[in-house]
Structures are given as structure tokens and as C-alpha cells.
């Protein structure tokens, strides 16, 4: 029995409570343990990824109950990849948060952070549909805490909306799971696959309802239009480094769609035909476009990047909605890219807002303007999918994968026009932030203008640091920049090693489109 499978879930689950119980009053110790846990998590994830890369699917039977009666963890290439991505991102964000001192601005940050990781990783590893729900809840509730970390009126209000919207999603999840259970009598995903395949076609209606509700749940997480409305306000009002971590959360939705709709409701399954394909593609394309328009139409940093993240989700889901091995290959590559890119830009956005507030306006030159400008430029390149960073390659992969699709012209047109609009938006923001400021000298700053923006920058709360405006002591420490450059390095590596990366993605896609292996690994040779 390979206990490594449960390690990435148990580790944060132990470190979280440990931090609260033992070192709650020692910031340095909290940081050390949190960081150490994250580093260890990366190490574990690397081991798991190495194990998964052989192509063998590993199963961990919790409580020693075999599937489908107990809950199993399943490690395949996809889950290993997502776990690794999560832990790497977590490490970087953790560095940033510590470096920028965001963790000091509210209570219990590191414990919540650990639990957040536990939830995300648990969701990636589980092989049980209801357990997926449970871990969705774990990651959600931790995200509620992180989202309102350090407080503030607007953040609370946005937090309220975020929670309510997601609670509706969770409710839908239960409706879906109930329906699936009532029809099939099982919760294990592999078992579901087996049973769904045996249900006669003339008895499809109720199962279809369950399947589509499940898809909608994941679509909410993945921020597919018109279920994306939770995202802009929550990401924009969350502490931006947290939003950087949240870049992986939308991917959980995408992951779940990919998992369920290759394993259980595969593209060849007649029973659920037309449920995913019919609307997901158009919806993904509209999502992409709405995100792009949002980038151009944003006048605040957080919102800008949030819409950027929506665009990238649109692109990602476009690739997924192809439901072909090529599409999934592209989607997986793009998943890694867009996670790193969105996180990167969120961190840069935080660097900016920490120095001059949340509005995208020209103000006087900020400290470290040059360095930040370089980072912003790189982040914008990454997120808009311009060369030389991996976004361009990812986008080309998506376009290439779509070439045999019925909607190929729509896909190409939307992806390309969406890129253009995003580029325009980013260029506008960048030139306002980093260039126009140079035409404003100290004496030229118009106090009345500053006054005008006041209500939007500074809410009635006292802690100005939480909400931007120019933090008077916004002194640079190295760590935030290290974090940013680490993500940039990740993007560069993903570009340079696009070959191996895409090869892994290809193998993963192949694994996903051969669900028999997965089913056999989980249920053994016997079919019930």
C-alpha cells in the first residue's frame, strides 16, 4: 500500500491544526511550519508525479474498504499533474504572502492556507463522487476565509456574494449526486462508469438530468458563462495574492468536468449525448469573449486580472469542450500555463496596488516601477497568450486541436479576437500605470483628482493597507519579487520544455480517453 497517495491530504490537515494549537502566537514559527509544509508538499507531489508518469494508475483504499464500497484515492497522470501544479503554486504564493506581510493582516492565515491546499488536493485525488463534494466544500470554506482575509467592507460584501453563490452551487451538487445515486446505486466514479454504461438507452431521462446538473456544478466552479458571475467581484476584492492561489480553484471545476466527462459520461456514451458538447462550446467561447471585454473594460487592477482569468478559463474550456484527445492535450497544457499566468499577474497586480491603490490610473511613479513594469509586461504577455511565453503555445495548441470541429471558425475567430481585445486592455492598463505616470511629476499631482478617486480607493475602513491606496511604508522586500520571478521562470520553463510538457499532456489525454484502465485499477478485473 503506497501511503504517498494520502500524504498530500494528511500533511496539511495535520499542519493546519498544529499551527492553530501550538504556534498560533508566533508569526515566525507559523511561517516556518507553513512554508515547510508547502515545500514538503511539493516534494510529495514530485514523487507522485514521478510515480504516475509510468502510466500505472494507483489506487488507495481508505479504511481498507475496497471500491465501490469505501472511498478510494486514485492517482493517474491527470491527478498527479494537478496536485503538483497546486503545490508549486502554493509554495510561490506562500512565499509572496510571507514576503509581503499579507499573512499578518488577519488571523489564522496559515492554517486556512493549509486547509485550502488540503481541499484542493483532496478534490484532485478522490475517486468518489460524494467525496468530491466533501472536498469541494473543504476548499470552498477555506477559500471563504481566505477571501475575506484582513476584512474591509467591500471585501465582506463581496465575500457574502461569493459564499451565497457557491452555496447554491453546493446545493446543486447534492441534487446531482442524489439523482445519480438514485439511478445507479453507487457513488464511486469508476463504478458509476460501469453502471452508467449498462443502463438501457430508453431509460436515460433521469440520468441525463443528474449528469447535466453535475456538469453545471463544475461549470460554476470553472466560471463558465452564465455561471461565472461569482468570479469578478470575489477575485477582485480578495487579497490579490489569495486570488493568485485561487487561480487553481477554477481549474478544479475544469478538472472535474474533464474527469467525469471522460470517465463516466464519456464522449461516446449515447445515454448522455449532447449534454456537454451542445452548450459547453458556445458557452466557453462566450466566456472567453466576456472575459476579454472585461479586461478592456476594467478600471481596477483586481478586476482586470480577474477578467483575464475568465478569458483563460474560456480558452481552457473551449479546448475541453472539444472532447478529443488533442483538445484535452491542449487543455492540459493550457491549464498549467493559465494557472501560473493568472497567479503571476495577480501577484504583480498586488505589487502595483500595494504601491498606488486599486485604480488603474496614472499616478506618480511608484517605487520599483521599472521592475514591476517588466513583471507586468511579462504577465500581460503570458495572460494574453502572446509569444514568447507559453500562453502562445497553449493557444496554438487549442486552435490546432479545434481544426476538425464543426465550429472551427467560431473557435478560431473568438480565440483570436478575444486575444486582441485582451491585448488592447492590457496595453491600456500597462501604459496608464507605467508610462503615463512619467508625465506626472510630484508637483503636478492634482489633489482634486486624488480626491475624486478617494471613495473607490479607500473605503471607510481604517486599515488602508488592506485596500490599497499608497501604503506609506510600502517598502520592497525581496521575497515578493522572488515569488513573481519564480512564476515567470515556470512560464519560461513551460515554454522551453513545451515538448516534454505536451508529451506528458498527450499521455494524460490518452489515459483519460482509455477509461478502462482506470476502471480496472479501481474495481479490479471483476465487473459487478
Amino acid at each position: 500500500m503506497n501511503h504517498f497517495l494520502i500524504a498530500p491530504v494528511v500533511l496539511p490537515a495535520l499542519v493546519g491544526p498544529f499551527i492553530i494549537m501550538v504556534v498560533r502566537h508566533h508569526l515566525d514559527l507559523m511561517r516556518i511550519f507553513s512554508l515547510a509544509s508547502t515545500v514538503l508538499l511539493v516534494a510529495i507531489s514530485l514523487v507522485l508525479a514521478a510515480q504516475a508518469s509510468s502510466g500505472e494508475i494507483q489506487v488507495y483504499e481508505l479504511g481498507n474498504w475496497s471500491a465501490p464500497f469505501g472511498i478510494v484515492l486514485v492517482l493517474d497522470r491527470l491527478s498527479a499533474m494537478m496536485v503538483l501544479l497546486t503545490s508549486v503554486l502554493a509554495l510561490v504564493v506562500n512565499l509572496y504572502v510571507i514576503g509581503s506581510g499579507w499573512d499578518k493582516r488577519g488571523a489564522n492565515f496559515h492554517a486556512l492556507f493549509q486547509f485550502q491546499l488540503m481541499g484542493i488536493i483532496g478534490a484532485f485525488l478522490t475517486g468518489d463522487a460524494f467525496n468530491l463534494f466533501v472536498f469541494f466544500e473543504v476548499l470552498l470554506i477555506a477559500s471563504y476565509g481566505l477571501m475575506i482575509h484582513s476584512g474591509g467592507t467591500r471585501r465582506f460584501q463581496a465575500g457574502m456574494q461569493y459564499v451565497v453563490y457557491n452555496l447554491l452551487g453546493s446545493t446543486l451538487f447534492l441534487f446531482a449526486l442524489g439523482t445519480l445515486y438514485a439511478v445507479t446505486g453507487t457513488l464511486n466514479m469508476a463504478d458509476l462508469a460501469v453502471r452508467v454504461a449498462e443502463i438501457p438507452a430508453e431509460d436515460s431521462a433521469l440520468l441525463r438530468v443528474g449528469a447535466v446538473m453535475l456538469l453545471l456544478v463544475f461549470a460554476i466552479k470553472a466560471a463558465v458563462i452564465p455561471l461565472h458571475f461569482w468570479l469578478p467581484a470575489s477575485y477582485a476584492n480578495a487579497p490579490l495574492p489569495i486570488a493568485a492561489l485561487f487561480a487553481i480553484m477554477t481549474k478544479v471545476g475544469a478538472y472535474a468536468i474533464l474527469r467525469m466527462y471522460t470517465l463516466v459520461f464519456g464522449p461516446d456514451l449515447a445515454l448522455t449525448e449532447g449534454l456537454a458538447g451542445a452548450w459547453l462550446m458556445p458557452a466557453a467561447l462566450i466566456t472567453l469573449m466576456i472575459g476579454a471585454i472585461g479586461v478592456l473594460g476594467s478600471y481596477r487592477m483586481g478586476r482586470l486580472v480577474a477578467f483575464g482569468a475568465i478569458t483563460s478559463m474560456g480558452t481552457l474550456l473551449t479546448a475541453i469542450a472539444l472532447f478529443t484527445p488533442e483538445g484535452v492535450t491542449a487543455a492540459l497544457y493550457y491549464t498549467v500555463h493559465s494557472t501560473l499566468a493568472a497567479a503571476f499577474l495577480f501577484l504583480v497586480a498586488d505589487l502595483v496596488t500595494e504601491r498606488q491603490g486599486i485604480e488603474i490610473t496614472a499616478q506618480r511613479v511608484m517605487p520599483q516601477s521599472g521592475l514591476i513594469a517588466v513583471l507586468f509586461f511579462a504577465g500581460a504577455i503570458a495572460l494574453t497568450g502572446m509569444p514568447p511565453l507559453s500562453g502562445f503555445l497553449g493557444k496554438l495548441l487549442v486552435l490546432d486541436a479545434a481544426r476538425d470541429h464543426d465550429l472551427v471558425w467560431w473557435i478560431w475567430g473568438t480565440v483570436l479576437i478575444g486575444s486582441l481585445v485582451t491585448i488592447l486592455g492590457m496595453a491600456r492598463a500597462g501604459s496608464l500605470l507605467f508610462w503615463k505616470s512619467h508625465s506626472i511629476t510630484e508637483t503636478e499631482v492634482d489633489p482634486t483628482v486624488a480626491q475624486d478617486h478617494q471613495p473607490h480607493q479607500l473605503h471607510e475602513d481604517h486599515d488602508s493597507s488592506a485596500h490599497g491606496k499608497v501604503a506609506p511604508t510600502a517598502r520592497a522586500t525581496v521575497l515578493p519579487f522572488v515569488a513573481c520571478f519564480a512564476l515567470l521562470a515556470g512560464l519560461v520553463a513551460l515554454t522551453v520544455f513545451a515538448g516534454p510538457a505536451s508529451h506528458y499532456a498527450e499521455a494524460t489525454a490518452a489515459q483519460l480517453f482509455a477509461p478502462e484502465t482506470y476502471i480496472r485499477a479501481v474495481l479490479g478485473e471483476v465487473t459487478p
Binding site: L62, L206, V209, F229, P387, I423, K436
Partner: protein, 976 residues
């Protein structure tokens, strides 16, 4: 030198200038120059092979899944362009070293420049169209940086963004075109694509591919109607302009048209699109250039015009036209770079670029004047300079070209363009350098240092030499480059020489020069007419378009995401309902397999209560406390229902959760408004009601249908029922599922609770850290308060009730594995028991007496659960594997132990901690000075009488009843 290295060198070198700038401007410039020189030298090393007609190829797989390979190749065309880019690049680096002032961040400049140079070299060397796209987009990005280099100039920012918008969109169109091209041929490698002319031109996708690629080329090369960005890019420092608009950026489009000429050209579509665009651009650019007063703007539009010329030539699709195009590319690069640099010198020295403020510079800066005049004459097409040669060949070609049925259209317009071209060249010479020196220049001009004019001077020499000895000097180069353009086919007959005899082209040249002179003479009235004429100002249109787009985007974005979650949720419901209905209606359903079970009046009455209470909640939801009471009814009935339907565990859980939730809500409601106003208009309420009813009907129908049908296969719970006792050691199957079969779910569930408590705590800290704290401290109750906050009877009853309740909790806890109950319910009951104490004596009094560390309680709960799970590792079995057994200690009977109980203890602790932490947070909100009482109950005659007696002993004569506020007055203990 490997092509990899040549392509990489500028990028590698780009690092140095920015780093070395601390070592000085010379170091920075030298690093840039050296890198460029190395790359150039490396390129030239390949010259012998290239001139032998060889093609050099290197390649490595990059993204094989896509067919994107890092393949480079060098042929004549690539060689020509790469040499121009690197050669002129060298001159520009030298020139810029002297041109830029001390205030300009030179390191940045050279870094951007090298990035740009690398991207351009990459384009010319790419053997893979996707790779080419990478470099293509990189040129857009790096030119964005270069054009916006002077951050403080608004024109710079706008120009940069405009260039990015136009070339960027073109680039994206080109991606589409290239993808199509790759799809047609099955490969993205250029060398493969170039072999497939028939395949491509026969494909139905030929036209879309062609159009998309051409959009990319035209935007990059500033062809009509995309020409407008180029003049605005002139806000860049002149070295940039010189580089971008002579040798590089704008030539990228030309390069690509030439590159793909073998497979795309030769069709009518190609001819009509490319040649026509080129022709129109050539004419339009020339006309506008004549009326520009800004030196650089004049040159910019002349560039537009000349690019149109080259495009037109490529568009003719004939081999000889292609040769001419290649030749003009070389010529234009030389004279235009020289002209820009000269204009830059003029600007640099006189501090103005306004032609109206210049004149007579021939006397003040003779060197510059010589260079500029020679280059401008070449531009005008005056022999013996090189511009004349290629323009002559061009005119010759137009004569042989029919547009539709018209034989005169092309030559006629070309002649007109040549005429205007001569005119603006003459104006450039005449109005800037000739005439009398003036005394009102913004700065006193004189020739600059050698470093600055060395570059243009070299180019001027080339202009002259190529004009005189074209065949010798550039003949081979033209041959190999043109050979590559026409795809290795045999070169047509042509000769590069000044005198071709009395050809129609010569007459046309003559007419052009004469006409040009005439136009210059008439310049003043023409200018007035031009200024009076109404014409579309591209920049304004573009600006308006961009502003409109931005505004529209803001409108759409803010309109869609208006912050109204009521609408978001409505849309969500609508979508869910619609899709679910679609899923249902597009499937088929069989007849029910189960019979509905008829029930008696009791169930009916419970159902009735539920319905009425639920409807009442909706109807009375504005009275908040009442709706809480009604929700309590709903919860009660639901619990009864669970019990009735064989789910005692659920009933217990539901009941206890119900009460705790209600108390949390009451605690919160204390701070909030007690009523909700009517806000939604009637139609909104009807709309919401409508969607709610539909959703409810959907849910009801779904579950009704499900309940009347059997599982399609036996449920896995049969295994649970069969193995609960054997394998899990418990007879309460629900509990065994919770702590054993699906203990992992429960583990997640207590983590959720723990997190909830952490969030609540953090949130409380955050709220109390703001001015809300002051508000809370000064908050007056919004309802009148009664006295006797901690009634004696309640306190006394609680003293007995709480231990009893804890006993019940223990009972529920220990029997849970076999009978209804378990850690969660026990935890809630314990919490409720403590809550009873809080309600009786107040939170502060109670918690002072028993300092519970709630964080620790939760943490230990989670840790115990996790440790129980981990314990199974020692048995070599997976996480959360349970064990149970029996112990017999005489004289006691045998009793059972199970690790599941330990796990349940974890659950218990987490629940208790979470609930109490939440309560504590609310108590902290409510805390006000003096709220905490030192006594359990406000009124206690035994205690008060004793105190009274003591007090009277100290101060006799006071009647206890009249004394207020005395020590026994509740006010001194309860509130204040």
C-alpha cells in the same frame, strides 16, 4: 555560426545593455553593438554558401504535438533581410549612442532594440510558420516598447498602442491564416509548405488563408487601409523610426509576402488583392507625404508609399516584378535609413522637425545636407542613384500590367504616385536644406559629430555606388534573393543598369520628375486646398474607435457584472432549469417500477404543517424574528419526518443543528435590522416567484420519479448493511458508514467545521480591528431591554440541566456506533448544554469560569481524528482503517472498544469547539464595558442580604429597600 546562435544572439545580448548601463553609456552601446556585430559576422560567414545557391538548415523539435519546431533555414531571401536587419542595426546602434540624451535610459533602449532585432532576425530565418508567428508577434511587442520609449510623451504612448493594436490584430489574423495553411499541407514547416503550391491553391481554404495572412502582412507593412499607424509611430526616437521604417518592422510584411510568394502568388485573387492594395497605398502615401510639415511624418508617409510600391510589385505575380521588388527593397532600405537619420540629425540640432521652420540648412550643416539630398534624390528616382533604377523597373512593369480590362489604370496611377513621390522628395530637399539660412531656428544648427553622421554617410555612399554599379554590387544578392522569392524557379531575364534605352518607363520617369517640380512650385496653394479639404483623419477614427470600444467594454462589463447577486442567482437558476429540462426532455423514461405507498392522516398533518410553515416563512420573511420561529417549525417537522421515515440519526442531527443555527441567527439578528423593507417591485417578485415555483416543481418531479423507480443495479449500501457488524463492529449502519466505510468523508466534514470556526474567528478579529469596534462599544440596543438579565430560576435550573444534558451527550456519544447517536450529535448537545449556561449566566461569567481554548479544542479534534486514521499505518493498512475488539476486566462484563470511537471523539471535539468559537465571536461583538457580571444570577437574596448586613454594619441607618442603586441592585452587577 549556427543559425540558432545567430537568431539567439540578439536576445542573449539584450540582457547586457540594461545591466551594463551602470558601467556607462559607452559600455551599454558597445555591448549592443558587439552582439549585433557578432551576429552579423556569423551571418556573413554563410554568405559563400548562400551565393553558391545552397540553403542552410538547422532544426530541433520544440512542440512536436503541434508541429511547432525550432527549425531555421537560411536562403537568399533570408540572407538579404537578415543582413539588412543586422547591418542597418549596427549603424542605428552607433547613431543612437550619440542621438539619445543623458536623460534617456539608454540601457533600456538598447535592450528593447536588441529584442526587436532578434525578433526580426527570427522571422527571416524561421523554417516553421508557427515559429515565424512567434517572432512575428514578438516584433509587435518589442516595437510597442520602442515606440513608447519616451514614456512622458502622450504621442509615444498612443502611437505605441496604436501600432500594437493594428499590428497585433494583423498578427492574430495571420495566426488564423497560418493555421489554415498548415492544415492544408499537413505541416507547419515552411520548406514543406513551399513545395505544395498546387495543393494550396486548389484548396477551398486558399482564399481565407490568403486573406488572413495578407491582413497580417498589410498591417505590419502599413498598407492601405492600415497605413495610419505608421506616422504615429514616429513619436519614437528617430533611431527607432529609422530602424523600424527602413529596414525592419514594416519590411516584415513584405518579407512574408515574398516568402510565401511561391505558393500564394499567381492567382487572380492574389493579384487583385495585393497589387491593388499596393497601388492604392503607393499613391495615397505619396500624396499625403507631400502635405506633411513634420519631417518624420513626411518620411513616414513616403515609407508607406514605397512599401505600397513593393507590395504592388509582389502582387503582379510575375517573376520579373518579384526581382524588381527585391531590388527596390534593398534600395529603399539604404536611402530611407539615411533619410531618417538625417532628419533625426536635423531635429537633434535644430530642435524642430517642422519644415516650415527650417530651410537653408545646406549652409549650416553641409555634411548632413549632402547626405540627405543624395538620399532624397534617390527617393525621388533621380539618376544615377539607386532609387532611380528600381523605380524605372517598376514603371516598366506597370506598363505591362492590365487591371481588369484596363491597360492604363496601373501605369497611370503608378505614374501619378511617382510624380508625387518626386514632389515630396524635392520639397524635403528644397524646404529644408536649400534657400537662405534663417535666424529663427529653435536652436543654432551645425553638423553633429562623426559618430552621428557616419552611419548615414555610409548609407549615402551605398546609394551612390549601387546606383552606379548595381549589377556588380548587388546583382548577385538580388539574384539569390529573387531566386528564393520565386521559389527556386529560373530567374527571368533582367539587367540592373542605369540606361535601358528610351523605354516607356523612362518617359514616365521624366514626366514624374517634371511634374514633381511643378507640384513643388504649386505647393503653397495646393497645401491650402489640402487643408481646406475634408478627409477622414485615420487617427481620429482610430481613437474614436478605441475609445468607443473601451467604453462599450466598460458598459458591457459593468452592465453584466453590476454587483447584483440577485440577478446573478436568477440567471443561474434559469440556466440550470433550462438545461435540466433539456436533458430530461431529450431523454426517454420508462414506466415506474415501484408502487407509491399510501399513508395515514398523521403524515398528512405533518406535511400540512410543513407546507403552511414554509409558505408562512415566505409570506412573513420581512418580520425576521417571526420567520426564525417559523423556520423552527419547519425544522421540527422535517426532523419528525426523518424519524418517521426510519432515519433516527438524521432526526437527532437535524434537531440539534436546527437549534444551534437558530441561536446563531438570533445572536446575529441582535445587531441587524429586525425587518426587511419591501424593495423589489411587484414584477420582480412575480418573476422570482415564477422561477422559484418552476425550480420547485422540477425538484419535486425529479425526486418523485426517482422514488417510484428502483436502482438500475443493486445499491452499494447492501454491502454496508451486510458488513456493518462483521467488518465495522457496529449495528448502527449509518454510524458505521460515517466513521468507517466513509470515514474519509467525515474527516473532511470535521475539517469543514474547524475551518468554519477559524474563518469566524479571523473575521471577528478583522471586524473588531476597524472602527466597527467603536460603534459596537457605543451601540444602544434597538429594542427596549428588560431587567433581570440572568434570572435566578434559569440559573438554578441550569445547574441541574447542564450536567444532565452532558450525561445525555455522553450517552448519545457512546451508543452511537450501535444505536442512533454519535460524536456529532453528542458534540452539538454538549455545545447546547454550555449554551444553556451562557444564556443563564452570561457568556463572560461562564467562560471566565471555564477557560476553554476553542482553537485548541477544534485542533485537537482534527488531530485526534487524523491520528486515529494514521494509526492504521502501523498496522500496515490504509488511512482510517478501523479496528475493534472486546475487553474483559473482571468483575465487569465484557465491553467493546473500537478505534471508530476515537475517531468519533475527534468529531465530537471539533463540533464543540466550532460551535463555541462561533458563539464566542458573537459574544465579542456584543461586549460592552460592564456587561460582564461577577455573579451567576442577578438576584440572589441569600447573597444580597448577607452583603446588605455587612454594609449596614458599616453604615447603619439605611433601609435596604429604599437604597438605589445599592450593591445588591442588579444594575451594579448585571449591566451598566
Amino acid at each position: 555560426m549556427s543559425l540558432f546562435l545567430i537568431a539567439a544572439l540578439p536576445f542573449l545580448g539584450a540582457v547586457f545593455p540594461a545591466l551594463l548601463i551602470r558601467a556607462g553609456r559607452n559600455a551599454s552601446a558597445s555591448a549592443a553593438g558587439l552582439t549585433t556585430f557578432l551576429a552579423f559576422a556569423g551571418l556573413l560567414l554563410h554568405a559563400p554558401a548562400i551565393f553558391r545557391g545552397e540553403v542552410i538548415q538547422v532544426g530541433v523539435d520544440w512542440l512536436p504535438a503541434l508541429g511547432l519546431n525550432a527549425n531555421f533555414f537560411l536562403d537568399g531571401l533570408g540572407f538579404l533581410f537578415a543582413s539588412m536587419i543586422l547591418g542597418i542595426g549596427l549603424l542605428i546602434i552607433l547613431y543612437a549612442r550619440f542621438y539619445l540624451s543623458r536623460e534617456d535610459p539608454m540601457g533600456q533602449f538598447y535592450t528593447y532594440l536588441l529584442l526587436f532585432q532578434g525578433a526580426m532576425v527570427g522571422i527571416t530565418l524561421s523554417d516553421n510558420i508557427l515559429l515565424l508567428l512567434v517572432f512575428w508577434e514578438l516584433t509587435s511587442l518589442s516595437s510597442f516598447l520602442l515606440i513608447g520609449y519616451w514614456k512622458h510623451l502622450p504621442e509615444g504612448r498612443q502611437g505605441a498602442r496604436m501600432a500594437l493594436a493594428v499590428t497585433g490584430s494583423g498578427g492574430l489574423a495571420m495566426i488564423g491564416g497560418m493555421m489554415i495553411l498548415g492544415n492544408i499541407t499537413g505541416s507547419y514547416d515552411l520548406s514543406v509548405i513551399l513545395q505544395n503550391k498546387e495543393l494550396i491553391q486548389a484548396s477551398p481554404l486558399y482564399l481565407p488563408a490568403l486573406v488572413l495572412i495578407l491582413v497580417g502582412c498589410f498591417t505590419k507593412s502599413a498598407q492601405f487601409p492600415f497605413h495610419f499607424w505608421l506616422p504615429h509611430a514616429m513619436a519614437a526616437p528617430t533611431p527607432v523610426s529609422a530602424y523600424l521604417h527602413s529596414a525592419t518592422m514594416v519590411k516584415a510584411g513584405i518579407f512574408l509576402m515574398a516568402r510565401l510568394w511561391p505558393v500564394l502568388a499567381g492567382t487572380p485573387e492574389w493579384f487583385y488583392i495585393v497589387a491593388t492594395t499596393g497601388l492604392v497605398t503607393m499613391l495615397l502615401g505619396a500624396v499625403i507625404a507631400l502635405f506633411k510639415d513634420d519631417l518624420k511624418a513626411l518620411l513616414a508617409f513616403s515609407t508607406v508609399s514605397h512599401l505600397g510600391l513593393i507590395t504592388m510589385l509582389l502582387g503582379f505575380g510575375t517573376k520579373i516584378a518579384a526581382v524588381t521588388a527585391v531590388f527596390h527593397i534593398i534600395n529603399h532600405a539604404t536611402f530611407k535609413a539615411a533619410l531618417f537619420m538625417s532628419a533625426g540629425i536635423v531635429d537633434h540640432e535644430t530642435h524642430t522637425r517642422d519644415i516650415n521652420r527650417l530651410g537653408g540648412l545646406r549652409h549650416l550643416m553641409p555634411v548632413t545636407a549632402t547626405i540627405a539630398i543624395v538620399a532624397a534624390l534617390s527617393m525621388a528616382g533621380i539618376p544615377p542613384f539607386n532609387g532611380f533604377l528600381s523605380k524605372e523597373m517598376m514603371l516598366e512593369e506597370t506598363v505591362h500590367t492590365h487591371w481588369g480590362s484596363s491597360a492604363y489604370l496601373v501605369p497611370g496611377l503608378a505614374l501619378l504616385a511617382a510624380l508625387f513621390s518626386a514632389a515630396y522628395s524635392f520639397r524635403f530637399i528644397g524646404h529644408v536644406f536649400l534657400g537662405q539660412p534663417r535666424n529663427d531656428y529653435p536652436a543654432k544648427p551645425h553638423d553633429p559629430g562623426f559618430g552621428m553622421w557616419a552611419g548615414p554617410a555610409l548609407l549615402m555612399i551605398l546609394v551612390v555606388l549601387i546606383g552606379l554599379f548595381s549589377a556588380t554590387l548587388v546583382g548577385p544578392l538580388v539574384a539569390i534573393a529573387a531566386g528564393a522569392v520565386i521559389g527556386g524557379a529560373e530567374l527571368p531575364y533582367y539587367s540592373l543598369k542605369l540606361w535601358h534605352g528610351l523605354t516607356p518607363a523612362l518617359y514616365m520617369s521624366g514626366v514624374a520628375v517634371a511634374g514633381g517640380l511643378l507640384l513643388l512650385l504649386l505647393h503653397r496653394p495646393l497645401m491650402a486646398a489640402w487643408n481646406a479639404a475634408l478627409r477622414p483623419e485615420a487617427k481620429q477614427i482610430f481613437d474614436r474607435l478605441m475609445r468607443g470600444l473601451t467604453k462599450l467594454s466598460q458598459l458591457i462589463t459593468d452592465g453584466l457584472h453590476n454587483g447584483a447577486i440577485t440577478r446573478y442567482a436568477f440567471v443561474m437558476m434559469l440556466f440550470i432549469i433550462a438545461l435540466s429540462y433539456y436533458a430530461y426532455s431529450s431523454g426517454t423514461i420508462q414506466a415506474p417500477t415501484r408502487l407509491a405507498q399510501t399513508e395515514g392522516p398523521i403524515a398528512l398533518i405533518a406535511w400540512f404543517c410543513l407546507i403552511v410553515a414554509t409558505l408562512a416563512v415566505v409570506a412573513k420573511h420581512r418580520q425576521r424574528q417571526l420567520s426564525l420561529v417559523l423556520i423552527g417549525v419547519v425544522g421540527l417537522v422535517v426532523s419528525l419526518g426523518f424519524n418517521y421515515l426510519s432515519a433516527p440519526d438524521l432526526a437527532l442531527t437535524q434537531l440539534s443543528v436546527e437549534v444551534v443555527t437558530m441561536i446563531l441567527l438570533l445572536l446575529a439578528l441582535n445587531f441587524m435590522p429586525k425587518d426587511s423593507p419591501i424593495e423589489s417591485p411587484l414584477w420582480v417578485r412575480l418573476r422570482d416567484g415564477g422561477i422559484a415555483v418552476i425550480a420547485g416543481l422540477g425538484a419535486a418531479t425529479l425526486i418523485y420519479m426517482l422514488m417510484l423507480r428502483d436502482f438500475s443495479m443493486p445499491s452499494i449500501s447492501e454491502f454496508h448493511l451486510a458488513n456493518s457488524y462483521k467488518g465495522g463492529g457496529g449495528t448502527n449502519v449509518v454510524n458505521v458508514i460515517l466513521v468507517d466505510f466513509r470515514g474519509y468523508d467525515t474527516f473532511g466534514e470535521i475539517i469543514v467545521l474547524g475551518i468554519a470556526a477559524l474563518v469566524i474567528y479571523a473575521l471577528t478579529e478583522a471586524v473588531l480591528g476597524t472602527r466597527v469596534r467603536a460603534y459596537l462599544l457605543n451601540r444602544k440596543p434597538d429594542m427596549p431591554q428588560a431587567g433581570d438579565a440572568h434570572p435566578m430560576m434559569m440559573v438554578v435550573a441550569t445547574r441541574v440541566m447542564m450536567p444532565l444534558a452532558l450525561m445525555v451527550a455522553a450517552y448519545i456519544f457512546f451508543r452511537g456506533h450501535n444505536l442512533p447517536g454519535g460524536g456529532f450529535i453528542a458534540g452539538l448537545i454538549t455545545a447546547i448544554a454550555l449554551l444553556m449556561q451562557y444564556m443563564a449566566s452570561g457568556f463572560s461569567w461562564a467562560s471566565e469560569r471555564q477557560r476553554m481554548f476553542y482553537h485548541g479544542t477544534i485542533g485537537s479534534g482534527v488531530l485526534i481524528a487524523a491520528a486515529t486514521g494514521l494509526g492504521s499505518w502501523f498496522g500496515g493498512v490504509p488511512f482510517l482503517t478501523s479496528a475493534f475488539g472486546y475487553i474483559h476486566w473482571p468483575p465487569l462484563d465484557e465491553f467493546e472498544w473500537a478505534t471508530a470511537a476515537l475517531f468519533d471523539l475527534g468529531v465530537f471535539l471539533a463540533v464543540v469547539g466550532a460551535v463555541l468559537l462561533a458563539l464566542e465571536s458573537l459574544a465579542r461583538f456584543a461586549w460592552q464595558p460592564g456587561i460582564s457580571s461577577e455573579h451567576a444570577m442577578d438576584i440572589n437574596p441569600a447573597r444580597d442580604d448577607l452583603e446588605q448586613a455587612q454594609l449596614q454594619a458599616q453604615a447603619p441607618g439605611k433601609h435596604p429597600g429604599l437604597q438605589a442603586p445599592g450593591p445588591h441592585d442588579p444594575s451594579t452587577k448585571g449591566e451598566v
